[in-house]
Amino acid sequence: MLQFDKVVLAVDGFRLTADWSLPAGARVAVIGPSGAGKSTLLSAVAGFLAPQSGQVLWHGADLGPMDPGARPVTILFQDQNLFPHLTLSQNLGLGLRPDLRLSAGQIQQVESVLDRVGLAGMGTRKPAQLSGGQIGRAALARALLRARPVLLLDEPFAALGPALKAEMLTLVAEVAKDTGAVVMMVTHDPQDALAFAGQTVLVANGVAHPPQDTAALFANPPQALRDYLG
Amino acid sequence: MKTSILATGLCCIAFAAPAQTPVLTVYAGDYFTSEWGPGPAIESGFEAFCGCDLQFSTGDLLPRLMLEGERTQADVVIGLSTDVLARARESGLFAPHGQDLSALTVPVDWPDDTFVPFNWGHTAFIYDTTRMDAPPATLDAMRTLPDGVTVVIQDPRTSISGLALVLWVKAVYADQAGAFWADLAPHILTVTKDWSESYGLFTSGEADMVLSYTTSPAYHIMAEEDQTKRAALFPEGHYFMAETVGKIAGTDQPELADRFMAWVLTPEFQKVIPAANWSLPAALPQADWPEGWADLPLPEKVLFLSETEAEALRVEAVEEWRAALSQ
């Protein structure tokens, strides 16, 4: 269970509060106006921003003292998810062992995950030789390898076209099912939220509201969401 | 610590002499012990009869001695110039030499009981006959050099020869030294830190005249068979410079040090000086100079300020120079 316990986040005069929790296996869309603090919320879970007060807890344990890499979390950023100077296999291998001293079994694992996300045979390529969709798939493949119980998506597919994005969301759903992870996905698009997430967190006016049923939320949007949807 | 271990591994360590052989440590100027200097011949010459191991230790002489003080490893110091003797004496590190100086052939009185000269020369402006047919005939003519004639000199604040030059001018012009510098200033192409930079500028054709020594042409004549470099000799006289040797009072080899000091005044040592040091021997009659040296044109009149006179004038002379050239 991922719990936000009276969390107050503060960055440069901007404040965001959150006080709710997500059950294991939950899939949540995070939606709200630009600059409302969606990425900030994810940063607090990933460990890039310490709360001013309150705690982020995983199964009742405070994540505060843990370094980002030690948290039970995988995060996909908007971009820079891959190191450009490393090959695809190496970028994926980082998910298994950060020092890349992989065993034969782990190398095999990387190969099979590449195959699974449709990148078979591309392990020796560098990111510059890949398309945007392939980069997204590679990043997801690494999430699959890391198999952390929390998966955070900070709009990693925002730059992709509708078809590609749909493909990625299907892949995310598979990854989530495989790993049983809680997924929090920042999105601008109500369709993504409806298609992917059972619940939605609305971030607006300094508050990350408790998750609500996505279909119900969009059927009867509160004022802040109506303003955003226009 | 890692640094020193690493670099000690890289550096060649001075080979140790057999335990029973006494070691005479001689501090010398940097140029002295190179294969082109007099050091190697002096070392083998002395070791041939002293039953000792002569070890040169090179580097800055006076600053190093002053820093080391009583702790110095030196037994003998060779190469101190006349114009730093006052400060060397003041350090109290040197013992009286106790030598009989009657063999000296330097052109000035040498009543010094501490330092023994082993070479000498005079300051002079050197010119190239292929570029200058009518060199100035007097020091005073330096004040009225033709337009476009350039001179390069050394800085009296960083160079012994540069200091000798301002003392030379001071000795000739006294109160008028500032006026001399003001007249010469337009012809001074530049001032360098060391003698060697000036000399390089002169030989590469950048300047017409260079402040150097009356003995400089000897190198070109004897080593290069080049007769075109000459010293302009002036009737006003040329400033005397010598390099000396002194014995450290706290030496643990007083006897060896005395023998070395005595050897400095012998013809065997003195004959090494001209061609290795490109200066004149301090205790060798002209008749015994190596071939060619007796023909070297030398000035008739020698100027020399005593240590106390020089020390008294030094700061003022340098400041006059600086003020005139800063205009």
Binding site: G69, F77, L94, A128 | L6, T58, D155, T190, V191
Partner: protein
């Protein structure tokens, strides 16, 4: 834990550098026992030192921008070789550099021969313009390389975006180049300013006389001639204070450009138009002529002396190479640790940044004298000549390597800091997989600079030198003192060749391993 280990190591390195610089100064001061007042002419020296350093640094940076931009956006045959060669003046021993400049700009140099051929009056290089000319000659290459690295660090994607938006060169300059220069130029300016601050033989020889007296000359006079240690320490303190001031100003002026990361595609800077083509040709051609002609003159001067070099030259050369390699092996890791710590942690970063500039401002002579005083109670200084040389070389070349690393380390941190943290990539694995490949270019360049600078150093060894430790610069000096000017020029050419060879080897390694 790992982060703390980096911070502790970095603090240790910074403390070591500060100690190496300040302890000798303190030793000299303690020995002198008095803090004297400024002497006659000191005010003038200080003023001249300051304004020539400011002007030299400003001109070097200003001229570097068009040259680096032209090199960044043009492809032509021999471009790589030209970039490497143009770095050479910075690595020249000063006395050799002066001779090269005089061969071109001097009274009987190329330019005046040309003017005479045209019946025009000769130009005199001696005076303040000569000092600045020499300092620009020596330091322009450094500024160009620092800017060029800045250009190469802008991801290709940003230039593509600019092109797709139809940016004119002026807009590219405003949105991409100027922010990058704001990150790079203050550091370059600081290093060059401090370098010119401590210049002295160049300033005196080309300055034409005592008008061009610098503070460093006064220090030299105090140490070597007047034996006035208090005065030397006081003047050295003035230099260190000036350096600290500059470090503080630069620390606040530097901005991280924040271009974001690219995918490592090859930069594609294409510009069209005859005017820009002309401007770039002029910039590259002009810089190449200005920097390479004196180099060629040095080569020509040295060639005749190469025929019969004495064995001492080769012995000195091997000692110098060993010293240079040892210095580099210590300098590069130290600079890397400092740069990484400064970019990562907030606390103490400003102080560490200042420490990394400090050694440049300290006079080599005072450093040498202080170390002599410190070493002397425990060992005969002449037995430690080479270790001391290495230690001082490390201190003196660290600032350059550090300055080269910092801007790119900042970019690396901004672009990949979070990704590395989220993947738990840290410690040695992070160093091997992220830091070293991403910083290979400045590391190689920095190692080359460090090695070449360590070949040329002379100031410190004078007090410690023994026959068994004569490095190549000392051999050159001895040859000159013995009238062997032709042989000395040959040996100097060997020195230049070796320095440049070491620089080239390291730089090439860095460029080859650079993660684009």
């Amino acid at each position: 834990m790992a982060r703390r280990a980096v911070a502790i190591t970095a603090a240790a390195v910074a403390a070591w550098v500060a100690t190496l610089v300040l302890l000798p100064l303190a030793a000299v001061l303690w020995r002198a026992g008095a803090w004297p007042a400024l002497a006659q002419g000191d005010g003038q020296a200080l003023w001249f030192t300051l304004w020539q350093a400011l002007l030299s640094a400003a001109l070097s940076c200003l001229l570097a921008v068009p040259v680096a931009r032209a090199l960044a956006r043009r492809q032509f045959l021999g471009r790589g070789a030209l970039i490497t060669l143009m770095g050479a003046p910075f690595l020249l021993p000063t006395i050799v550099a002066v001779m090269g400049l005089i061969a071109v700009f001097g009274r009987s140099g190329l330019i005046n021969q040309g003017l005479a051929g045209l019946g025009l009056a000769p130009l005199s290089v001696y005076g303040a313009p000569g000092v600045i000319l020499a300092h620009v000659f020596l330091n322009l290459p450094l500024a160009v390389r620092m800017c060029l690295q800045g250009w190469q660090a802008i991801p290709a994607e940003r230039f593509r975006l600019a092109q797709s938006l139809g940016f004119a060169p002026a807009q590219v300059s405003r949105h991409l180049e100027r922010p990058m220069l704001r990150a790079v130029l203050p550091g370059a300016f600081a290093v060059i300013f401090v370098l010119c601050l401590t210049s002295f033989a160049v300033a005196l020889t080309l300055g034409g006389g005592p008008k061009a007296t610098t503070v460093e000359l006064a220090i030299y006079q105090a140490v070597r001639f007047d034996f006035d240690l208090g005065r030397a320490a006081m003047l050295s303190g003035v230099q260190v204070a000036l350096c600290a001031l500059v470090a503080a100003v630069v620390w606040h002026a530097v901005a991280t450009p924040g271009f974001g990361a690219g995918l490592g595609r090859a930069p594609l800077l294409r510009v069209r138009g005859v005017r820009l083509m002309l401007a770039d040709t002029l910039a590259i051609g002009g810089a190449a002529l200005f920097l390479l002609l004196p180099l060629a003159a040095i080569g020509l001067r040295g060639l005749p002396g190469l025929s019969d070099l004495p064995p001492a030259v080769w012995q000195g050369a091997s000692r110098s190479v060993a010293v240079a390699l040892a210095s580099t092996a210590l300098t590069v890791p130290a600079a890397l640790i400092l740069a990484l710590a400064v970019t990562k942690s907030g606390r103490g970063a400003g102080l560490m940044d200042a420490v990394a500039l400090l050694p440049l401002a300290s006079s080599g002579l005072v450093l040498g004298t202080g170390l002599f005083l410190l070493v002397q109670p425990f060992a005969a200084p002449s037995t430690l000549a080479l270790p001391v040389t290495v230690a001082v070389n490390v201190a003196l070349s660290l600032p350059f390597v550090y300055r080269l690393l910092v801007p790119e380390a900042r970019i690396m941190q901004a672009d990949y800091g979070r990704l590395s943290a989220s993947l738990d990539l840290r410690g040695l694995a992070w160093l091997r997989l992220v830091a070293l490949p991403r910083l290979a270019r400045p590391l190689g360049f920095g190692a080359g600079v460090s090695a070449a600078l360590s070949m040329g150093d002379l100031g410190v060894i004078a007090l410690f030198a023994s026959d068994q430790s004569a490095t190549l610069p000392l051999v050159v000096q001895r040859l000159m003192a013995a009238y062997r000017l032709e042989t000395a020029a040959g040996a100097a050419l060997i020195l230049v060749g070796l320095s440049f060879g070491l620089f080239w080897a390291f730089d090439t390694w860095g460029r080859r391993h650079a993660a684009i």
